[in-house]
Symmetry: C4
Subunit: 213 residues, 4 copies
């Protein structure tokens, strides 16, 4: 209960605030999927009307997955953080600000999927969130000295590469938005798949007991 | 504070994110129950207007209970999980995606309670959520090796049976939706009752101190 | 990390789910307070328009306090609970269902403050929530055997009396709603004040270190 | 699991409830940023329409940061609190009531940025939140005796000064609102910057391991 001397406020509440913001950002989009309103006697049209909602359903799924990508990333990173400081807290608030902006930029893209400005806003939002997460990794593993002691430097290197994979693809997608919007759109859809696949960084946290000597 | 070597990120944040999504999914439906708007001088109509809201009240209660069924199920299952990996995290995000879809499918059913398409969407949503939960049990108790060591295999068997009880009834309800919609509707209403009743799996976690030797 | 044998799933997630539902129920009502919309050039009317919102502001404050009363009550009670079972989990889901219904019944009362049906719905909602909390106390301290061992029986007796204070006043308010609605309304406003004042039950948890021998 | 004798209900759930309210208050404002609706064929206007949303974007960012200021402040203060009592719980509920009022007062200011009444409501909301936080510090470090034993009195003094910095500037802004509204607006925008910068109080929690003897 008594914090060790010299340690700052812990990370528990940063995690709790983050989980709250993620949970809200993830579920807000279902509010955009409205139950079709039909006049009495027209119920025969319901299957067609529900079918017409498919872009909304797709937008809901994609948005949920992309928010999930950031949740997993921040979760794994914070797991190895042992304490926080003011700069880390505020970088996390900036990160959450970008996360809770996702329902807007996803809705914009869902409504105008081939408009360059919608593709741009979406890409800039995702790129900034990725860069803030990367900046946190650099700060916490470097000057901030916030991670557990004795961590393998390859964890930071591989984790950083994995985080930057997103902004790299997003930057390409932003540029392509002005020339071939449909390619830009496809790039955005591919990124969550890349992140759901396991990566080399997982070796550092995905040990099964059988692996231990 | 230092995680044991070889253990991945814990389950604490999976639980926190889940509780956030469940809390929002549970409370979103009250937004569908609107206070009746009456012209000044017509207040005598208020009791009648409030009475006419009963299908909304009923939908609110049923939806809350069904979400509660999944919360209890995931809660008990996660309780015995000792660590997580990337696949488990993502299966949980898929599970939460289906949970936060419930306000939509419940609202659809509440508005069109005897339309086959509404009964289908609702049943498919519930069936998928049950199957993901069952898949998590299989993975965590098998290849993932995520549960506490030394757990009784009957816990997994009985827990799995209990989880599959829902999808079994829901599948029947989906088929019946096209022939006798009212029977389909009754089947959906029965399932929460089945789950609220204690089951044989409870023996493995519902021990009272007096039971101990 | 390994739960002691014989203990069921803990209370941590019951608390987390409850805090999520309470937080949402508490903040939903601010959505009812709308920024006044004025035509360009009519800004001089803004002070008057904001002033006219006072019943909304009052409803927001009262609703926040009443939800707070239940949060404090459940918080203190759960604090001494050491484990949970299926019945306790479900009684808690019923309790949360009544809590997240409060935004509706408060909004109904805010709009029709002197209509018997609004006063009734509000009173029944509060009474049921209080009775479920009381039932949990009886069950957990009796057949459920869920509390910490060695607790002072006076804690249960005084805590129970304090919980029942609400339903007692609410029942009177429900009856009076049909004869003198304004008295009923005043009774509702008085109850949060009663609960905010310290009670005799506090002696059992409000010990200052100086009190210890 | 067994609380030490004499300790009241812990602070864990106060933190959890607070994080829920903060997360909701932070994300509610994105609901005010609506995707522009365009007729088919008018998509060329989208960049302009998105650009016109800039005051909404700005309001979102400022509101997020100001809520973040209070979150960081309450987080640091609660971190050193070791137990709670009824008065502390209720002062925290009052604090959360003011926090979840922020989406309204920020929206009011966003719509009428130079109207004295909007500047006043906003300033009074922020001032009250700051004063409640300060009152909690006084109570917990004095009569309530709620902090960890052996804390440096300079922590309370510097922390208190830092908290009061806000209400001091806000009071000036409220007065200036009636004479030079634009100066009042600028003062509000400056405060989050002041709080994001590190302060002397950080010395008491921002120790790096290298600093230790």
């Amino acid at each position: 209960m008594h914090p060790p001397p010299g340690s700052g406020p812990g990370k528990g509440r940063i995690e709790a605030l983050s989980d709250g913001v993620f949970a809200i950002a993830m579920t807000l989009l279902i509010l955009d999927v409205k139950v079709p309103a039909l006049e009495p006697g027209q119920e025969a049209l319901l299957p067609q009307k529900v079918g017409e909602l498919w872009p909304r359903f797709l937008g809901y799924v994609v948005s949920f997955l992309i928010t999930g990508v950031f949740w997993v990333g921040q979760h794994v990173q914070l797991h190895y953080v042992r304490r926080s400081d003011r700069l880390f807290m505020w970088s996390n608030i900036a990160f959450l600000m970008l996360i809770s902006f996702l329902p807007f930029s996803t809705a914009l893209l869902g409504q105008y999927p081939l408009q360059p400005v919608a593709l741009c806003v979406y890409g800039v939002n995702l790129t900034l969130a990725g860069l803030v997460l990367y900046g946190q990794l650099l700060y916490a593993s470097g000057p901030g000295n916030l991670f557990e002691p004795g961590m393998d430097p390859r964890f930071f290197a591989l984790g950083g590469q994995r985080i930057l994979m997103g902004p790299a693809v997003y930057s390409a997608a932003i540029l392509l938005a002005f020339f071939v919007p449909v390619v830009s759109l496809i790039l955005y859809a591919v990124v969550p798949v890349l992140y759901i696949l396991p990566g080399r960084v997982d070796r550092f946290w995905h040990h099964r007991p059988a692996d231990r000597p």
